[in-house]
């Protein structure tokens, strides 16, 4: 599919913003939705809506089938088995569920969880809190000069007490890509499992949980062109089988008495209550859409745009670009205009139709390390083109001139 045709699949991209062409470069926050996803959600509600599992009528059977088909589509995206995919509300819930359930199983005094100071708060806080509650230690990998987590650095902190290594695949601030396969080997050699925050990788590159030897992988529907309020946790089947439920209630039980209960097999034992069926259907449609476009192509295109943008921004005098000094392997570019707060930058870009994120990106420890209270972040996705890069660069250059002028 050529780029113009692909862009036309996303209805919102054709709209103007503040009288300017919309330049949406905040896909690391959330992605725009293609017609295929909007249609799938609508079709589910119009044709198949009923509660899953419990109905005996044909309509309910179709709803259940839609939900389970979606699970299979999401599983296929990351090369997992359908039974290894738990539907959640998103990456944050996936990581909380994992930390609570698996943490209850393996963490206690004398054990530790290894993570990094560059994590999104959602891959730091669940481990921090479960470690506190269970008397386990939380250890941090030293980042290298580029802010990267290397297998060597992980090797320096893991030991026989390590039960979980929890790391982001792609940093949402720096855009660095972690060598997950090599780190999996380090974690497994120490007898630990590897939990990966895939929020910024699964939507943007081919992720194969078997080839990378990942034990747990958390990701969100809305960042991969699916609806909000839906996400997934992949867990290796033999690990999920051992894990206790976290949410008790309807749908997840086998047999209940007043004094005890038995629970369904994984993944259903983790999905108490009526799930977000339409969300799952939309996420399944998004998984299929991304595979049709091709994740290899998506990855190389957005990395190319990010490299163009980083180079262009570096050429503007008075702009600082963060992240790798060499080639970028993801679509994230973080920057500041010297002497101008990132929020002021974002407001100025907004006036030019350019949507960027500004702030601490839910990564306060990393921001302290960068010595920046806040930064602006542009993040590219499959529907962005060279015009978006140019519009961003022009807007940054004119914002810089504007603030130079008013600051007189």
């Amino acid at each position: 599919m050529n780029l113009a045709a692909l862009r036309s699949e996303f209805p919102l991209l054709g709209r103007d913003e503040n009288g300017k062409r919309l330049c949406y470069v905040d896909s690391a926050a959330t992605a725009q939705k293609p017609q295929a996803v909007l249609d799938a959600v609508r079709r589910y509600y119009v044709e198949d809506n009923a509660n899953v599992y419990r109905g005996v009528y044909a309509l309910a059977a179709r709803a259940t089938q839609d939900y389970e088909d979606a699970r299979a589509q999401v599983a296929a995206l990351v090369h997992a088995e359908p039974e290894e995919i738990i539907f959640t509300r998103g990456t944050t819930e996936s990581l909380n569920l994992l930390a609570r359930s698996y943490g209850e199983l393996v963490l206690g005094p004398g054990t530790n969880v290894v993570t990094s100071p560059a994590e999104h708060h959602s891959n730091l806080l669940p481990w921090q809190q479960v470690a506190l509650a269970r008397g386990a230690e939380l250890r941090f990998v030293e980042l290298d000069e580029d802010g990267q987590v290397t297998p060597e650095a992980v090797g320096k902190v893991v030991d026989q007490g390590t039960r979980v290594v929890a790391l982001a695949h792609v940093s949402n601030v720096l855009g660095t890509v972690t060598d997950i396969a090599a780190i999996a080997a380090v974690a497994h050699a120490a007898g630990a499992v590897l939990a990966v925050d895939g929020a910024q990788s699964v939507p943007h590159m081919a992720v194969d949980v078997k080839a990378l030897d990942i034990d747990f992988l958390a990701f969100s529907g809305h960042k991969m062109c699916g609806p909000t309020g839906i996400g997934a946790l992949y867990g290796r089947a033999e690990l999920l089988r051992r894990m206790p439920p976290v949410y008790y209630g309807g749908e997840m039980i086998e047999e209940v008495t007043l004094t005890g209960a038995t629970f369904k097999e994984a993944p259903w034992r983790f999905e108490g209550g009526t799930p977000n069926i339409a969300g799952a259907v939309g996420m399944g449609a998004a998984a299929r859409f991304l595979q049709e476009v091709g994740l290899g192509e998506i990855h190389s295109r957005e990395a190319e745009l990010a490299n163009m943008a980083a180079e262009g921004l570096r050429r503007i005098e008075g702009v600082t670009v963060y992240g790798p000094r060499g080639r970028r392997e993801s679509g994230v570019v973080t920057f500041n205009i010297d002497g101008v707060h990132a929020h002021d930058v974002a407001t100025a870009l907004d006036a030019d139709g350019v949507c960027v994120r500004a702030g601490h990106h839910c990564c306060q420890p990393l921001m302290r390390r960068l010595g920046a209270a806040s930064t602006a972040r542009a993040s590219f996705y499959l529907y962005n083109d060279a015009d978006d890069v140019q519009q961003l660069l022009d807007a940054v250059a004119s914002a810089k001139e504007f603030f130079r002028r008013v600051a007189g």
């Binding site: 929020h343 407001t347 006036a351 702030g359 306060q364």
Partner: protein
């Protein structure tokens, strides 16, 4: 919407040359506020006398030009004023940003921030200092009740 409406010269002047920046030696009370969504931080010191007058005030913090300029303007405006009058400044400013009828005369330099009303996401920046002030006043009132 226009950037020039927001980033007026007087706004940038307060941002770059903040008035009453720093700490008071003997404040009656201090409030620290943190805006978790953007990371802005603000610390407000107030010296109140028994007649309910803001004898002195100072602020320190880090944040965008709008939050810091608003803090400078607000502190400058309420120094020497009675608490009720300072509260009227807050109320009028919030009216202004909601595009309602506002008592402009009481606002002083704060009126220059009117353009922020065009950028809803930035209203919380402009009102950060006032939220700190209101928190301080709630504390004063609560303590007053306890002493009765």
């Amino acid at each position: 919407m226009s950037l020039d409406d927001v980033y007026r010269q007087v706004v940038m002047d307060h941002y770059q040359n903040p008035r009453h920046h720093g700490h008071l030696t003997h404040p009656t009370l201090s409030v620290g506020l943190h805006n978790p969504s953007c990371g802005d931080e603000l610390h407000l010191d107030l010296l109140l006398d028994e007649d309910g007058v803001v004898r002195d005030a100072a602020f320190e913090g880090q944040g965008c030009s709008i939050s810091m300029a608003a803090a400078s303007m607000f502190v400058d405006r309420v120094r020497g004023k009675k608490i009720e009058e300072a509260r009227r400044v807050v109320a009028s400013f919030k009216d202004l940003l909601r595009r309602r009828e506002a008592d402009r005369a009481i606002l002083g330099d704060l009126e220059a921030l009117e353009g922020v009303s065009q950028f809803p996401a930035r209203v919380k920046c402009a009102t950060l200092v006032m939220n700190a002030f209101e928190q301080a006043m709630d504390r004063v009132e609560a303590e007053g009740r306890d002493h009765k």
